[in-house]
Point group: C2
Chain length 323, copies 2
DNA sequence: ACTTGACATGTAACGCGTTACAACATTTAG
DNA sequence: CTAAATGTTGTAACGCGTTACATGTCAAGT
């Protein structure tokens, strides 16, 4: 394995000049550049990434923190990895599986200079704790955060959820159930607010049992609808879901149980993923890919010292067969 | 930002001793260890990951090479990330989007010591080219490879596909269509072989137009079934798919077109992902998670110098509503 | 002819741990 | 009581680029 020193010795120039060639510095004569490039070629030289990172203090790597990779994350992850790579950054995945200690590994890795920045997709640690890592590098979150240090690319969940609510209300549904996601998250908070405001404004029937938090997955959706159908005082006739996976679970289980969709039950998903398209689920179009790009741009801005703003994004509702 | 030198100076011991404390070497007296740990604590010291990597030549990072992250990859990726992390390795995602040059970046990164090893999920470069990177570190592939240097954790596709074929044949279907994946891949090759052997053995009706390669996604599945239904000489009455996404596309489009499943069309997916469960698609259980673990173990073995074997895995067919 | 500046290149310190080898002290065995 | 073994710690080189600053050269400007 050849190194820069050898190239320098062989070419007769100093390490500095060789380094300049590597970094395309203009302060090298064309003749010198060619000689050095030729020798590099002959020795099959590539610079050692770790040495560069140690020296510059940059790893060109960004960590993505998440509980686990699921269908909803897919467009976020894909878009982020893609965009980051276009800017020369690689993405490292940190999955916690819900274990705060494992999640912390990502933050420690930033402290140890293994990654230059972090994007949080979902996280299970205390926000104050995460905040204490901000001094080690930029942290941007997909979900909205209370902590001002951690910027978020989440959209205004209140508006998005209201869009879904008014859609089903407009179609005559009044017994609306809610499958919300992470309890105590800002996203969920905005959605709850929207529901409460809509309930008041449109005089919806309200039943505590119709609203649940902590519902994320296909299986949880399946279970939820089974429970909802058994509720005393009657089941809801519409349900808004935390994401499309939940909606998919509810839809397939409802079909199995011979519940007519959308006549007896309207279903609205969230995120408008491929899944919603495939299953024909009405969904609120969360422009996830664009959010991921925003996340990267915020990070690049912070890394570069320029405080970049994010472009504004808008929700849309895509109507399909479930409403 | 404190460093090892400072800890050494403050504690009165040498860098070597401090390093020994960090690495839990037994050759340090208890008293010394405590003094040094205390100072580390006070200075809020963490070792610099890049310095460690430069020094040891290991990054504790493994690259995952793929065209893009999709539903089928999900269990592979999740399982790999999880297992790797348990062994102290982080996973870096390299998506090529089908561009060989972008894909090569991953291989170059191994050459530059940015990652210790690579797992190939899907790849678009010439295998011979990839082979030339084997000298820089272990490369393991999910898909079967022709190159002996690149070990694979793929299962015997012939057997798995035959399982699916015999299942539908056993249920009386004889006009079997095939939606195969990547052309010219070993996986596809095995499946084609299985189909040809089965066609001969069970006297299946054969129609060139029923078999296609290059079908991977939900959308492609949708398009495919539309085309198949228009074929002169009649459409097939069963179809085996490259993966569950394709099966999902076919199923939903078939329903839209009022084709009765499974009466008029049997559908068999591959991989038995969450998607197949949700949509009730019969699928061949490719134990993807276990394959990912195998991949990691092969890599760890090669990194550690011990040639680890992989545990044998078996296919199963999970019957659901589409057959 | 002389200053000024542009350009090319070198020097040496720096970023930060790891580790082979040496050295010394203290037991333990004989 | 000495030699060998064991345990503790230090020295210094190594892994490999980057970069601020210094030096030297040559042409343009006056």
């Amino acid at each position: 394995m050849s190194n820069l020193d050898q190239i320098a010795k062989l070419s007769g120039f100093s390490k500095a000049t060789v380094s300049r060639v590597l970094n395309r510095s203009p302060h090298v004569s064309q003749a010198t550049r060619e000689i050095i490039l030729k020798i590099m070629e002959e020795l099959d030289y590539v610079p050692n990434g770790n040495a560069i990172s140690l020296s510059t203090g940059e790893t060109m790597q960004i960590g993505m923190v998440t509980e686990g990779i699921n269908e909803v994350m897919l467009p976020f992850l894909n878009s982020f990895v893609e965009t980051a790579s276009r800017h020369g950054y690689q993405t490292i995945i940190y999955t916690s599986g819900g274990d705060p200690a494992k999640e912390l590994q990502a933050f420690e890795d930033m402290r140890r200079k293994r990654v230059d920045a972090l994007v949080i997709s979902t996280c299970v640690n205390d926000q104050a704790l995460l905040g204490s890592y901000c001094k080690y590098g930029p942290i941007v979150s997909w979900q909205r955060m209370e902590l001002p240090e951690i910027q978020s690319v989440a959209m205004n969940q209140y508006d998005g959820y209201m869009l879904g609510l008014e859609h089903v209300i407009g179609r005559g549904y009044t017994r609306i159930a809610n499958a919300w996601g992470r309890p105590a998250s800002m996203n969920t908070f905005g959605r709850i607010q929207a529901y409460q405001d809509a309930a008041r404004k449109y005089h919806l029937e309200v039943n505590q049992e119709w609203s649940q938090t902590g519902i994320f997955s296909i299986r949880q959706g399946e279970e939820l609808i089974r429970r909802l159908l058994l509720i005393a005082g009657g089941p809801p006739n519409a349900i808004l879901c935390a994401n499309d996976m939940v909606a998919a679970g509810i839809l397939s289980e409802a079909r199995r149980l011979k519940v007519k969709v959308p006549e007896e039950l309207a279903i609205v998903g969230f995120d408008n993923t491929e899944l919603a398209h495939t299953l024909g689920i009405t969904s609120i179009n969360n422009p996830i890919g664009a959010q991921a790009q925003n996340a990267l741009h915020l990070i690049l801005g912070k890394l570069g010292g320029t405080e970049a703003g994010q472009q504004e994004l808008e929700f849309q509702l895509v109507q399909r067969a479930t409403t």
